[in-house]
């Protein structure tokens, strides 16, 4: 199954071309970032296990396992598979703890515990939660679930219908179930919680439904809510107090969560927390993004719309907002800032800094001081034209007025599209190369704003945004990124957006999947494709790795197209119109030729 020979040659050629351009990155070792570290060592995490969505609190998706190397990766093969019994988008990743693999399916969010010590990996248990069917039609972007966290013998995850559950990892018994979101208001939950010091941190989806976004902490033992902070509204609701010290002057002041919105529009202003969470134990800060403001039509909400489309640092114990920053103030392109924040220490300007690296939907990669919220560097990581750059004095993007959307105006060819330069697909970081491995989209859009009325439980969007391929003739690229200098080191162009997460390993092999269903192992140093295998359905989940009871390194990934980018395939959608909000038929007209629905775990080994 080695169809990749030609592509390897192309990648090698690209690497040479890139290397030949004066001043740009080279593929040699000198391009690597020496001294880069994952922010804080993973908590209670054995090398062969995977307890948290991003493996560690830093969201690095890096494993120290090193049996699979660039030299032997060509010998990878499918070791075993497991059907989840559910079609639809399989985002997220399995967990492996104590010789048991835990799998969470898309709606209806079944949990499986597979015994890795026995032949055929029989189930230890299966948990089928009650989960309101109405949630299916309320979820904007397929009925995905991004996985669970393991802590204190419990598996903790969210249900699409707005509940958080804790299941006894030994028996599958439901320990507690807490209603966190209201489906009747359009709130669903798709994100993966993390557990910090006995608290389960949770947010919701619904940025397209006029939801008022929040993040909350539940007691891991009882499921009781300990705190809930909103991301819009009065300071008291947002837990903005004396400790709130945003880096930039325009972000300071009282009740900005009201004054940066007209009238009461903040009450339906979005800013939900549906992405990945990070935590720095030394600073005791949780980092989360917030979604687009509602509605997409910016004419209905003049102002910065704080704190939508923002990166926010909060005290893990109290939920207090410590700093906040908007990559896209007054977002009029649906550029959520929910993408993950990866916590690493990098040599910036000669000195080691505690930074977070964030690949925003808006197409800029941000390297920020994670203690203060200062933007140290912001560079485009995908083709873009909506902004000419970020002013480091203010942190604000310089908007190209030709690409500013407005009600009743059809603005053509805005890049990136509303799916962003990157979306839910999480990047990985390797301290061995000091590089970030980033799955990206190369899409553009036309955008026509339209007045919309808020009706609870229905979409609150107000815009049509048909998408198309970006410049260059490819629609996605898997790139290696130097966050110290803000430059791409290498890239593998793909015919479709790369909607899968990335996995980095100490063996210097990086893994990702493609929308048309290829699991790829590539050389972390130069992007050479070492191995690829066509799985049964498009990959929108994130590969993970673990050590089996036999001592071997395994790599596991879901095959199951869906999510926003796979909605055409996964959903019940016709595809012959060029101007649909969620149209995929014209964006990815060929995708259905290469893949169809699925719901399968694939596990690889040497």
């Amino acid at each position: 199954m080695r169809l990749g020979t030609a592509r390897v040659a192309v990648v090698a050629l690209l690497a040479v071309l890139v290397a030949c351009q004066g001043g740009s990155a080279s593929a040699s070792d000198t391009a690597f970032v020496k001294g880069a570290l994952i922010g804080t060592a993973p908590p209670n995490n054995n090398a062969g296990e995977w307890l948290y969505p991003g493996r560690d609190y830093a969201n690095s998706r890096y494993s120290t396992l090193a049996q699979i190397t660039p030299d032997n990766a060509k010998n990878l093969k499918v070791s075993w598979t497991f059907s989840t019994g559910v079609l639809r988008g399989h985002e997220g990743q399995p967990l492996v703890v104590d010789k048991t693999m835990y799998i969470i399916t898309p709606y209806p969010n079944v949990a499986y515990a597979l015994d890795l010590t026995k032949p055929g990996f029989p189930l230890k248990w299966k948990y089928r939660p009650e989960n309101a069917q109405a949630a299916v039609g309320i979820a904007c972007c397929d009925v995905v679930n991004r996985g669970a966290s393991f802590a204190d013998g419990k598996l903790v995850y969210n249900l699409l219908d707005g509940h958080t559950v804790a299941v006894d990892a030994a028996t599958g018994t439901e320990m507690w179930k807490t209603k966190m979101g209201d489906v009747n208001r359009g709130e669903t939950i798709t994100m993966a919680p993390i557990v910090v010091k006995g608290k389960v941190i949770v947010g919701s989806s619904g940025g397209e439904m006029g939801v008022r976004g929040w993040i909350a902490a539940l007691d891991l033992t009882t499921g009781k809510q300990l705190w809930r902070s909103y991301n819009v509204g009065p300071d008291s609701d947002m837990k903005v107090g004396p400790r709130f010290k945003p880096f930039y002057p325009q972000d300071r002041g009282a009740n900005l969560g009201i004054s940066s919105w007209p009238g009461d529009s903040w009450k339906v202003g979005g800013a939900v927390v549906w992405g990945w969470l990070s935590y720095d134990p030394e600073l005791n800060l949780i980092y989360h993004g917030t979604s687009n403001p509602g509605p997409w039509n910016g004419n209905q909400r003049p102002g910065d719309n704080k704190w939508s489309a923002a990166i926010i640092a909060r005290d893990a114990d109290t939920g207090e907002m410590i700093w906040a920053f908007q990559p896209t103030p007054h977002d009029i392109w649906d550029y959520d800032a929910v993408n993950e924040n990866i916590l690493v220490n990098l040599p910036m300007g000669g000195a080691m800094r505690k930074v977070l690296v964030h690949f925003d939907r808006n197409g800029f990669a941000y390297t920020m001081d994670r203690a203060t919220g200062e933007v140290l560097l912001a560079k485009p990581f995908v083709p873009m034209n909506w902004s000419s750059g970020v002013d480091l004095a203010t942190g604000r993007p310089t908007v190209n007025v030709d690409k500013a959307t407005a009600q009743g105006k059809n603005v053509k060819d805005i890049c990136p599209s509303l799916e962003g330069g990157k979306n839910q697909q999480p990047a990985a970081f390797s301290p061995k190369t000091g590089l970030f491995y980033v799955p990206t989209n190369n899409l553009c859009m036309d955008f026509e704003g339209r007045e919309v009325t808020y009706i609870a439980g229905t979409p609150y969007i107000g815009g049509n945004a048909p998408e198309k391929g970006g410049p260059g003739g490819y629609k996605g690229e898997f790139i290696a990124w130097d966050a110290v200098k803000g430059r791409k080191i290498w890239g593998i162009q793909e015919p479709f957006p790369v909607w899968s997460g990335a996995l980095a390993t100490a063996g210097n092999v990086v893994f990702y999947g493609t929308l048309d269903g290829w699991l790829k192992a590539v050389d972390a140093r130069n992007g050479a494709v070492l191995y690829q295998f066509k799985v049964g359905s498009g990959i929108v989940g994130a590969p993970m790795t673990y050590t089996g009871p036999d001592g071997k390194q395994y790599v596991a990934v879901y095959a199951g197209i869906g999510g926003d980018m796979g909605l055409l395939i996964a959903g019940d959608v016709a595809a012959n119109l060029p101007y649909d909000v969620r149209e995929r038929g014209t964006t990815l007209p060929d995708l259905a030729r290469y893949t169809s629905w699925g719901g399968m775990l694939f596990v690889f080994s040497l």
């Binding site: 972007c141 959903g571 019940d572 959608v573 016709a574 012959n576 038929g585």
Partner: protein, 175 residues
């Protein structure tokens, strides 16, 4: 089944320039519906009926399926239905021209809950278990009939049985 908590009927009427005449006709339509139900006799063709709607031991109710749309083929009412489709945010769920998005396509001639005028009326009026809101009592019956008339036009002439990928042009009309 979901109940919408708050509703903005009035602004929508303003958007559409609705008049007292329309409100009056809504009342007429509601009365008309009752008469049609009473006179139901023909058997509708169902594609799928959700198990929630099947009551063991009781005869199935056909009252909605037997209804006929007073605006069937009425170009003006269909155009008004198209505006309502946007004003009530149907479009943001079902896609532009009903091509499908969060909610199912209305273009592909595949009906989860039946495709007769009465079935579609019931879907809008009572909602459906996978997230379709119930609009009955929230908007006037004659507005629902306008929506039914419009929705009925979206799949006309669309066939989705075969997708042939072997030609030079990708022929796609459905999933």
């Amino acid at each position: 089944m979901r109940i919408l908590k708050s509703f903005a009927v009035l602004p929508v009427f303003i958007v559409l320039g609705a008049t007292a005449h329309q409100l009056a006709s809504a009342t007429q339509a509601r009365q008309g519906r009752g008469q049609t139900r009473a006179g139901a006799g023909n058997q509708p063709t169902y594609f799928v009926e959700h198990p929630d709607h099947i009551q063991p031991g009781l005869p199935r109710t056909m009252r909605f399926a037997a209804l006929t749309n007073p605006y069937e083929g009425n170009a003006q009412r269909i155009a008004e239905g198209a505006k309502l489709f946007i004003a009530y945010n149907c479009m943001d769920c079902h896609g532009a021209d009903g091509s499908g998005a969060m909610g199912p396509s209305l273009q592909d001639n595949r009906w989860h809950f039946g495709g007769t005028a009465g079935d579609i009326f019931q879907s809008i009026a009572e909602g459906r278990p996978e997230g379709m809101p119930s609009w009955g009592g929230r908007i006037a019956d004659d507005q629902i009939w306008r929506l039914v008339a419009y929705v009925g036009t979206l799949s006309k002439g669309h066939a989705v049985t075969t997708e042939n990928f072997t030609g030079k042009t990708v022929a796609r009309t459905g999933h």
